[in-house]
Amino acid sequence: MVGICSYGAYVPLYRLAREAMVLEGKGGAGERSVRGADEDSLTMAIDAILDCTKGIDRTSIDGLFTATTTAPFAEKQLAAMAASALDFKENVLSLDFNNSLRSGLTAVKMAADAVKAGSAKSVMVAATDSRLGTPLSAVESTSGDGAAALLIGDNGVAASIEGYYTYTCDFTDTWRPANDQFVHVWNDRFSIAEGYQPMMTKAISAAMKAFGVTPADITKLVYNAQDARAHGAVAGALKFDAKTQVQYPLFNEMGNTGAAFPVMLLIAALEQAKPGDTLLVASYGDGVDVMLLKVTDQIEKIRDRHGVLGYLQSKKMLPSYVKYLRLRHLFYMESTRMTPITPGLAQLWRERDSMFKLHASRCNQCDWIEFPIRRICPKCHSKDDYSQDRLLDQKVTVYSFSTDTIPTIPEVTDPPLGRAIIDFSGGARMELEMTDFGDIQNMKVGQPMEMTFRRLERQGDVAAYAWKCKPVR
C-alpha cells in the first residue's frame, strides 16, 4: 500500500482583511493570508516540511520534490536548498515541479510511482506558492500565501492512494510571463464557462468511472479553483452534495494559495478525516489531476501537526493595505546606508554544516556543546575531536531579546528588527535574528521559541537565507 504517511502545512502569521484592499470604498469579504517580508516560497515550504516531519527522521527520506509557480530563483533548485537547510541525506533525489498550479498533486503522483517502483521508500512532496496579483486586482484579493507537505511512502500509510487520473489541456486562463512578477487572468466569464467548469467535470467524471466509484462512495470531494464563484460551479454539476460532501475551500480565511492550494485543502480534509473515509482530490491548472484516497487508522497517529486548520488559528491582522504592499516589496523603502555585507560563497560553503544545517559541535572528551562548530573545544581544548549535534529538532527557549531601530531593512516584517539569544535543549546557545514576535513588551525570558528559515536582504544577490527564531505559534 502506497500513500500519504504524514502531512504538514504552513500558513504565514499575517492576514489582511479584504475590505482593506482598496484605495477608496469597500473591498471584498473575508481575509487572505500574507507572507511576512522575510518569507517566500522556499521558506514556507521548509516550514511545512518541518510540520510534516515532526517525530520523523528526515535522513530516512529518499526523495524531496517541491512544486511551485513562484520559485525565488529561475536557475537554482528549490528542492536542493530545502534539502540542505533541513539536513536531508546527501543522496536524496531532489526535483522541482514548476510553473503549473496543478504541479503539487502531479508531484505526489510521481512520488507514489517512485515508491511503487521500489526506487524510493519514501518521498517528501512540498507544494508552496506566494503569487502576486497586480495591485488592487481580483487576483491580489483572492490569493493567499501558504505551503503544504506530504510524505509519500509505503510504511505507516495514513491515506492510501487508490487511483490516479490525469488530463492535460493547454487552456490559458491564468498565466505569468517569465519576465513578469504579476499573475494575469483572462475574463472569467469565458474562462470558467469554457475552461475550468467543463474540464473539471469532465476529468472528475472520467476519473470516477476509471476508479469505479460514484459520488455516493466519496466522503469529501476536495478541489481548487481561482475563487469562490468558480469553485461553487463544480460540485453541483457532478451531483455531489455541496453542503456535506465538499471540502470547505477556505477562501475567506486564507485565499487561493496557487500550487499549494489543492494540497492544502487535502490536508485540511485529512485533519478532519476519520479512518475509512474516502477522499477524491482534483487539482486544476493546465489540465486536471484527480486522485482517490482511502483514510486508514494510521491517521490518528499524526494528529499533532499544525496543519492548515491549526496554522489558521494563530494570526496577526495587518493594519493596512499599505502594509501589505510593503511586505510584498511593492512599496519602495530605502534601506539604511550601512556597510555592505556579502559573505563569500566559499565561506558559506565551508561552514554549511553550522550555518545551514544548524549543527553544533559536541566534544568527544568532555561533552561540551557549542554552536557554531569549534575545532578547539572551549572547555578542555581538545583539538578536532568532536561529533556534530543537530539543533533543528531540539526544544528552544529564549535567554534574552531586544529590538533594533537603527537599521531599516525591507525584509523585516514588523520593524524594529528583532534579535535574540536562544538556548537549545541540548545545551547550545546562539545569537540570531528574531521574527514574527509581535509586541516585544509581551515577550518573556525563558519562553519557548522555534526555528524558521527566512530570507535576508543584506547579502544582495547571494543566496540570502538564514535560520531565525520566532515565538512558538
Binding site: 553550522s354 550555518m355 557554531p372 569549534r374 535567554y399 531586544s402 531601530t405
Partner: protein, 394 residues
Amino acid sequence: MGNIKDKVAIIGMGCTPFGDLWKMGVPDLIIESAYEAYEDAKVGPKDIEAVFVGNVSSSMWTGATVTEALQLDRIPATRVENNCATAAEALRLGAFSVASGMYETVLCVGFEKLKDYGSGALEMPGSLHPISVVGSAPASFAKSAVQYFEKYKIPYDKGKEALAKIAVKNHFNGAMHPKAHFKRAITLETAMNAPMIAWPLGLFDCCPVTDGASCAIITRADKAQSYTPDYVLIKGLGLAVGRIDPFKGKFRSDTDITFWDETWVAAQQAYDQVGIKDPRKEIGSAEVHDCFTITELIIYESLGFCPRGSGPAEVDADAFTLKGDLPVNTDGGLKSFGHPVGASGLRMVYELYNQQLGRAGDRQLQNPKYGLAHSQGGTPGMFQASVTIVGPKN
C-alpha cells in the same frame, strides 16, 4: 605576569573637542591633539622616537596616517586595533616599548572619523555570517538589560529609572567639559521618556557616534622630571580578550550577559600590579566604557566597585556621582563626551591626567587617588576589555 608600575610617565596629553567635526579631517584631528600634547610635554616633533597609532575604521592601513599628518620622518610607527579598547592598546604597547628601554619618548595616538559615513549609530557590519544578525550595537547590549532585569527581579520601570540616572549623571558631568560632544544636562524625565532605540534602551541610554582624537606622550619615569614637573605615572595595565570573535556570530553556550568577565579579569591584572585590594576605597575616580547605560551599570560590578546585582542600589544612593565616594565618568563619559571608537581610551586617560594634575576645572576632585580607565570593545559575551590605572608621581 610582570609589573609596569611606576616605570612609565605620561608627560603630555592632548584631546580634540569631540563631536560632529564636519570641518576637520583625520589629519586635522591628529594634528590638533598632538600639538596640544607637544606643548604640554614641552617637546617637539623631533623628540618623538616612535609612534603607536590606534584606529578602528577611519584609516585603511598602517601608522603612516599619523607620521604623514605630523610629518614624522622615518621613525617606528605601528598601528594597533582592539575595537573600542584600541586607544588604550596604543598606550599600553607604547608603555611597554618605553619600559623595555627601547625608546625614550613615544607618542601614542588614537583617532576616529565616523561622521563622514555610516548611520546614526555604530553599526556592526562585520557580521560575515548570515546567521549573525545585521544591526547596530544598541540591540546587543539591550539584551543584557532584559536579562539583568530578569535575573535580579527588577520591574521594568525601576530598571529604566536606574539606567536613566546613569545618563543624567554623565550628562551633568559632561556639561562642565568644554570639549564634550553634548555639553547639556538632562532631566530624569527626558531620559526615561526618550524614543526607544533598542528595547528597553532609549535614546539617552546610548552613547553617540563621534569624531575625535586623543593622544599621550610618554617617557621613562626616571626621565620625566627632565621634561616637565607635571606628570603622572602608569600604575597598572590589564587586558583580557574574550575567546569569541565578536563579528562571527559565535556565542559560547555558557555566556552570562549580565556580567563582563573580560573586564573582571583585566581589572584583576591591573589591581595586582598596583597592589589594590579594595578598589572601591583605593580608586579615586574611574572613566569607564559607558557605551550604553546598562554597560556602565554592569561595569560597576565587573570592576569590583560593588557586589553583583547591587548596581541599581548604588546608583540610587548617588555613589558614582561627582559627590559620591567613587565618581565615575567625571568628564561625561562616552554618553556625553562622545565615542570616537579609536580615541576613547586615551580620552579617558586625558581626564584622569587632568584630575591628577589639578586641571579639571569645575569637575576637579579633592582627592583623585588612583585613576582608573576602562575600555571594552565588542558585545556582551565577547569583549576586549582594557584597564589602565594611573597615579601621582609620589
